[in-house]
Subunit: 287 residues, 2 copies
Amino acid sequence: MLILNSAEVAQKTCRRWKKQSSIAFVPTMGCLHEGHLELIKRAKELAPKVIVSIFVNPLQFGPNEDFEKYPRVFEDDCKKLETLGVDLLFHPSVKDLYPEGFTSKISVGDLGSRLCGAFRPNHFEGVATIVLKLFEITSCNFAIFGEKDFQQLSVIQQITRDFNLPVCVIPHPTVRAEDGLALSSRNSYLNLDDREAAKQIPIALKLAKEQASNHSHQTTEELLEKIRPVLLEKGLKLQYLEITKSRYLLPTAPTDSISSLTLPHLFIAVYAGTTRLIDNVSLSSTV
Amino acid sequence: MLILNSAEVAQKTCRRWKKQSSIAFVPTMGCLHEGHLELIKRAKELAPKVIVSIFVNPLQFGPNEDFEKYPRVFEDDCKKLETLGVDLLFHPSVKDLYPEGFTSKISVGDLGSRLCGAFRPNHFEGVATIVLKLFEITSCNFAIFGEKDFQQLSVIQQITRDFNLPVCVIPHPTVRAEDGLALSSRNSYLNLDDREAAKQIPIALKLAKEQASNHSHQTTEELLEKIRPVLLEKGLKLQYLEITKSRYLLPTAPTDSISSLTLPHLFIAVYAGTTRLIDNVSLSSTV
């Protein structure tokens, strides 16, 4: 496995590869778990060359967020990537990607200011900006993103369409622990009590899915009223709980019946202790 | 010469070409004059495949600007491009480049809000957005931009650096009429009186260049005081007259001596009648 820190060298290497082969890319912030590894396995199926990046992107963290304490376990990550047969690990410094004089940003419009964007003001601008940069550096044909961060996935699909990026964005189903909790590098922050409370998230999602299937004429507010107490039962604190519609994740009205919505989707953000956790599920009858 | 309207088809065509050849690209808004044609000749020297786009980009026009009346002479343009041996003319519709649901934009930071950006609030955001899209569609190795729109050139160099775009941005010297006026599609708006007054622009630029060479210890304000009356002599109305420094076109103080500045550059924006004209010149002693 080649490990490169320089954007310039990585870009040249990838351009050379691209002439002979297609490239699949998995961007990560490291601290790799089984969810990441599944994305990489999917990448291996898609293209002969697989590139993974590890970069904790300061641009997507707010001033009071966990940029400094975000878990960094580079050597463990390297071993995992090596085992999977990754061709290139791109591991740049902040200075290399955001040198002095860097000023350009991508704004993604309303999609970036709803849901998590309402609580993390420049988060999706930061995500979109780094993802465009990484797409340009890796010249990837495919990029794989987990559905756990569904709004992030939607933002990346949006900029890919809007800027005509020649990349096929591949969504991958959320990978879950045995008890249903979505895998996340931030789960390592949870103490035993938090972890116990967090189990309510997949229970709530499952209930929502059942309700949407079996009682699809109920309204969004009726459905949310059923799952809210389930979520809160063990001490989670709710940040937001919303049902959106369409691929743009548009707001819905409390009186909209689930069955009337195109691509209804439920989003949850909670705090377990001081750790923020997000999850989501499609409420479409066909999915 | 191939003429394509569809971004999707153009992108596929360019990707196919790219595998065998490098590509040089000249984006235009049409109404081609000798300035454009020189950019295209330069493109022919740079790469075996040359692509020109003609697209009057609504995103870079303000609500009270000349989007509707901007000159469109597609058939004349085609003949000129054919004669020059252009390989592909990309001529998309607004709907094809900005379909329903389009929301993403590029912001370029302070560089986009100074000089022309102060008077045309979202202009450079619109320029940066369309240029990124066209770079992605054409997969060009080289893109050629005239120095007449020097701030635009600087914005494009900025986003190319910031987003790691694998494109070599080539500046091309301003092409001028015999009397020195910079060629511009908007010159067609000028009546005889306006055209006569507009001659003061190149006279002012020439004076500024001489002053900067021969009296480089004078301050920016001393220099501007000398050229301002020359500009205004025949009835031009001044929008702005500024000296910047550095590749970021940073503001300078009235008391800065020209010789103390890195890459000093003079920018002029005036109205000749109702027609807005811009021009610029480097005040560096070495250029």
